[in-house]
Subunit: 471 residues, 2 copies
């Protein structure tokens, strides 16, 4: 099944979610969809490749917020995904406004478009089964129906919402929906399973015309805000920012009479916690999930992820998750991983930056790692990829000092432009225009020591940026 | 009881032990005696102050090995302890050769000397009771007896060795010893308690003359090696290095007929594991021992030590020890802390430097912290205390680059000697004589970037060192 559906078929990937539940490997600015949890591709890469097997590549749109755009573009660059296919939400308003935004963009291109919507951070084991189900659903959507996928549950999960179909259906069959229900406690979930409820995977298929008609009926406020998008950007942002956040399930699907559920079964999981990730992954003979950096003695049924730069030692623990990163460690009993959100909130409250980003931050030109910061200074290791360059920039409040440790740097400082090799240093005084560039085929690594009274990343004036970050 | 005993009374502190059992806060080069575990003084500081309350300050000797001398001198500087009072073991040979070395040094000063011996890493709650016991023992030692302290046990500990007195004795009473026994399993320990066995604290009191006479009888090999010390340093080191390691208990006390045990009771503990440290420390209402950097939710009966530079989060754990440091984390079930030695050995085997030292290393002039190292470079933060200076030195294989981030540096580079303030940089080429000095009353902080093919601490030629480290 290599052939894709025709040009009228579109895919919308929802990638605006922020990551708290898999902290400390997910961070506010580096959520789950950007992580490779079960293989060597990230969840958004896997989601994109699944979509690409169904619809033409240029018909795939990703809805996200501004903060994740650099990382998404970097991760999907190799698959030919381009900036025009990104749809930026001005603010996070849950799924209904995000999907409505995508439907508007698509309807403007193609009034007869059919679209499927899928979250960027779910795991699907059987990609072929997924493709078949989407194609099947597109056929129903042509009839004007709004289709939602109901996953056949394999256990009474308390981590998912459920859909109650109006009658018992078999795989691939569609029927109307009696109701949508939120994550239940265990006893209720067991009852649901017996009564034929299905998991709500948040995957939807419909024609944009039918969808937008229903949206007008039930969520006119959203339609109004979005209609401003092409007329007046400022007004659009303003109106969007006051929309009440609402999920597509609650805002539309529970109310529309055009909704149907199709029963599907393609090994779907939403990795909602360290516990569910542990359950998914392969275990050793003691029931442990370990990475190569973990040093363990007499542990059982535990997940221990160590870090290459640290020593991570676990001894005699059972049923515990230990996740050690460069700047944080989490130790949690497997059954209590849902409490991570409280710790996350507390870190935010204490202004510990570990809730927000990793020590190493990916940039379009490479990456930087904050090695140390203190009153009046910050030390970074900067890696510039071959033939990439940072913006031409200036800082008002800090001087910078570069020591080249590997490769060759082309440094612009004021009027001068010179090449520097290993062991050479460059001083950039306050208020001096400068640029760092790697003109070679090899990686460039430098140590940067910043000193000054204020060292925030926002003390930067960008004059020229090949990645258009000044626009 | 402020008065000290007269000039014939000496104290010997054994401080050569290396620390594995409290890893990761103890390291091979930073063992337990250098740590403040229960208050704001380190164990060796507390041990020194106890000794100073009993004997004249200048009569206190510390036996240790070369690696710990800088840290011991720094920690005891404020109490007036000086380098001449350090006795350096050429190699680690257990307690008998270490004590023999001290006894020889003392006998040469004073043939009538009485000495007490105490390990540097034990905790004593009742310092006054300790003083009384030592004075009492000095009186028995005058009669030619070799006295060992038998602690009244308060529980059937499996972490201590035991002494069996020849008869039941009361506190302060002495009798001959029937036998010394090693750490027993629990059932045996319970039997020992019932039969009046005492804990062997490794604290001894005797006259140097009597001690040396017994040593000649039972350990002539040690006497011979030590006798070379003043004649031929090289031969001494050579002979000492081939002595069979032996404890004073096994080598001498179990064999001599002059040995007596005095029953004592002054709140003695050897903090031999995280479990025993947990038991000693004050707990919150959930039975937890936490430091201010730990973020915990629903934990019980656990010890969680976080680190100021990191986020350390523990959720839902019971009976677990979590110790997070700048470069390592340990998670261990409290009942299995004795297995840490295996993890320690494994780290050593894997050449992970976390077994050996902390990221921050104390030096006589201040400290340095390795922020990052990689192929061909190393980044350090260096703190120089007021009016201190590093040695005048040269490196054959690396260039160094300094950025002053706080204070004022006086830098000698080749023929030049200049002052540098915050934001200023100094480049030191390979093979160039240089020195860093803090000529002010304020702390000096610099970032040093080293680059070169070899970056070991041993690539250093010292021309002049105020701390005499080139001698």
């Amino acid at each position: 099944m290599k052939e894709q559906l025709n040009n009228h078929h579109y895919a919308v990937i929802l990638a605006g979610g922020s990551g708290t539940r898999l902290w400390p490997i997910s961070r506010e600015l580096y959520p789950k969809q950007l992580l490779a949890l079960t293989g060597n591709k990230t969840l958004i890469q896997e989601t994109f490749l699944r979509a690409e097997s169904i619809v033409p590549k240029e018909n795939i749109f990703i809805v996200t917020n501004k903060q994740f755009t650099t990382d998404i573009l970097l991760q999907l660059k190799e698959y030919g995904f381009v900036r025009d296919q990104l749809i930026i939400e001005p603010s996070q308003k849950n799924t209904a406004p995000a999907i409505a935004l995508a439907a508007q963009v698509i309807e403007k291109k193609d009034k007869d478009a059919l679209m499927f919507v899928a979250p960027a951070d779910h795991l699907i084991v059987d990609a072929m089964g997924f493709k078949k189900s989407v194609i099947n659903a597109f056929a129903r959507a042509k009839e004007g129906k709004l289709i939602t996928f109901g996953i056949t549950p394999d256990n009474p999960s308390t981590e998912y919402g459920y859909i109650k179909p109006n009658k018992d259906i078999i795989d691939g069959e569609a029927t109307s929906v009696e109701c949508f229900v939120e994550k239940p406690p265990l006893e209720i979930a067991e009852k649901y399973i017996k009564e034929g409820y299905l998991w709500n995977a948040g995957i939807f298929v419909w024609g944009v015309k039918s969808f937008n008609e229903e949206l007008k009926k039930y969520l006119p406020e959203i339609i109004h805000a979005i209609s401003l998008r092409d007329k007046d950007e400022e007004k659009f942002v303003e109106h969007f920012s006051v929309i009440s956040p609402v999920s597509i399930d609650v805002g539309l699907l529970e109310r529309s009479r055009e909704v149907e559920v199709i029963k599907v079964n393609f090994g779907w999981k939403d990795i909602g916690s360290w516990k569910s990730l542990y359950e998914l992954l392969e275990k050793d003979e003691c029931g442990n999930v370990l990475n190569e950096h973990a040093l363990t003695i007499d542990c059982e049924n535990s997940l221990v992820y160590g870090n290459s730069k640290r020593a991570t030692v676990a001894i005699g623990i059972t049923g515990i998750v230990v996740v050690d990163t460069e700047d944080a460690v989490l130790v949690v009993r497997k059954e209590e991983t849902h409490k991570i959100k409280h710790a996350y909130a507390e870190l935010k409250e204490r202004n510990k930056m570990q809730y927000k980003e990793h020590k190493t931050v990916i940039r379009p030109w490479g990456s930087y790692t904050v090695l140390e910061e203190g009153l009046g200074y910050k030390v970074k290791k900067i890696v510039v990829n071959p033939h990439e360059k940072l913006s031409l920039q200036l800082h008002h409040k800090r001087s910078e000092h570069w020591v080249v440790i590997q490769g060759t740097a082309k440094a612009t400082v004021g009027e001068n432009e010179l090449l520097y090799g290993a062991h050479q240093t460059v001083d950039i005084p306050v208020e001096t225009v400068h640029r760092l560039e790697n003109p070679t085929n090899e990686i460039l690594e430098i140590i940067e020591v910043q000193s000054g009274v204020y060292l925030g990343e926002d003390d930067i004036v960008r004059y020229d940026d090949v990645y258009a970050r000044n626009v």
